[in-house]
Amino acid sequence: MSPPTPAPQRHMKATPSRSIPLWRDERAIRIILQLLFVGAVVWALAYFFGNARRGLEQLGLGFGFDFLRMEAGFGISEGIEYQPSDSYGRAFFVGIVNTLRVSIVGILCATLIGTLAGIARLSSNWLLRNLARAYVELFRNVPLLLQLLFWYGAVILKLPPVRQAVNLYDYAFLSQRGLYVARPVASEGMTAWIWIAAAGLLLSIIVYIVHRRHLRREDRPGFPSLTATGVWVAVATIGWLALPAQPIALDLPILGRFNFSGGLPLSPEFTGLLLGLSVYTGAFIAEVVRGGIQSVEKGQREAALALGLRPWQVMYMIVLPQALRVIVPPMTSQYLNLAKNSSLAVAIGYPELFNIGTTTMNQTGQTLPVFALIMACYLGFGLLTSIVMNWYNRRIRFVER
């Protein structure tokens, strides 16, 4: 957003003559107008907050953030460690972490789904193209809240009970209690493998430098970064396979008497929210990706092919770098939308920031401070995301020559 443009006419009369009366002097008028405007805003705010304070005083409530240190007394079904005897501040922190958790996982899933669907929409395969189109048009045009309620109330809660859980090849189990997936756990081979991987990294850096110097001397085009990555992947894979003990063991969920033990349990609320957010945002991201790829002129692709580049090279070296510049800004706003939309979890009972905020509000009656906190958190998320994405945007812009 560009800052407001400074007044072009402000300096037109650099020395107003004494004969101009005050009410015709433009500088005076401008100052008076601004004073009037600020006065009106301040008066309205003072009126509103005065009313609010009087109302709270009548209820015998103070006005401040002291309640954050009081005992919360309500339980939170999931998240980092927390007891009902902890403070409201701690409960809030749990909510923030839960919001971040579902937002970050959701952003990853939505990006994956959206990128695949966006590329599929440009496929030369008629069926794939139209399947992707059907997905986008279906999920983009139905309210997210409805989709969340549908996934949670009409799909996940209607799944079979734990004893008849849907078995997804022993790696994941889907039931009324949510999703149990296998959890990768580092085993004793991990330290050895990390050493091997570090050695591989060193080797790949050396390869990168040598290869680049070689290319410079010969004045030939090439991809030292690709060669180096290949070296590292090769070393890491060989190390992985050669080690006697697997570095990562899968902790599989196993059905016990009443519930699963082991694995990574995802609650029905989290599963439903994640599913709804990723599928909904994925449909929007698909359109962003499609628009970005289409924004690259056809001539670029044709010229690259004419120069003898392979199709994957055309995609990787010509189309994607140019498309990314178009994609990143709208993608940022989709990510922000996803983070903001995670607040809809209040309808299905996932304990994120807003959900815990409303509970706190109901228990303490501190509507205003709680809203201020929620507001500060969301604006903070927004600021954080824009900083990260702007940094990335600048980085990919540097490629431009």
Partner: protein, 398 residues
Amino acid sequence: MAQTAVQPPGSHTASPLRRALRWAHTNLFSTWYNTVLTLLCLWVIYVVLSGTLGWAIFRANWAVIPQNLRVFLAGTYPSSELWRIWAVLFSVIGMTGLSAGAFGGKSHALLLRSSIAGLVLAALPFSVANRGLILGGVALLWLTYGASRNRTALRPWIVGAWFLSIPGTMLLMWGAHSSQLLPRVETTAWGGFTLTLLLAIVGILASFPIGLLLALGRRSTLRAVSIVCTCFIEVVRGMPLVTILFMAHLMVPIFMPDVRIDKVVRAMIGLTLFTSAYMAENIRGGLQGVPQGQVEAAHALGMNASLTMLFVVLPQAIRSVIPSIVGQFISLFKDTSLVAIIGLLDLLGVARSVMANPDWLGLQAEVYLFAAFMYWLFSFSLSKSSRRLERALGVNHS
């Protein structure tokens, strides 16, 4: 845009079967990986359809929809007063037709899609009289469109009519305690699709002037004004709509304890404040698109700043933001479903209350799918036609 395969020469002379095979070859099985993709897609389609179709045909209990159709569409509005909802609907349709004619000129697509949506609605299990009314609405749309086509003189009157329609609609829906003709209908009885549409239309109309003022304020050379407007816009855009609705729901009574403001009106305030921030950014984009030369020419002709804004800049800016306002309307239309969280009975709220009815327990999937279908029908046809409108208005939006 989909890449269409180039037809090989002479294909029009080949037999239909050969042509079909050739089409399948170029579009589905051109290379080995395309064949794999096609088979994969077929498998996905099979899995999805075998899962859902069997359920939808044999196991789903669709009786819940026709039995509650009136509730889905009009909430618990009393039967004897339903004509008031029809009157509101017809006036909205009439004004839409008039606006499409006077502003759009070439907006056949918008009308065509809306008509198709109307016809699909008429296919729902309505009574004969209601079907007749729906078809009458479709006819009215085309009549008003034809009547106002390219009559630019009507524009200010239509804009005025839209804004007068807010108090008019509220008066008609609410009625008065003492009135025989229009007995009072409390907002607790307002609901269903009617409330969804009402919230969306009031929200977009009310947010337009506020958004316009905010956009002008943000571009103002008065620093204090532009800072306050920018803060408002950015804070509202950084917040989720639920929090703003909750704020309107809980804080308006705290901020203004002397006046009792109805729940539906509070939801309207929240939706309007939210939308106006986005609207301001759309309008600001339109304002920035007006060439500086236009302003300079107006100054050269001796027009002052406000006359220039009113008669030179704004008409051009607003024309270019019409498509994005339609887009804003679509997303607002979907966002109104959030009022269900604060306990209003819009389409989604009504759907949830039907599910809670002991007669229809356990029918979440059927009810949600019906509600989703209603939202989808309107939002899809609007978004399709808004893309056409964009092209018809010649707005460069790529």
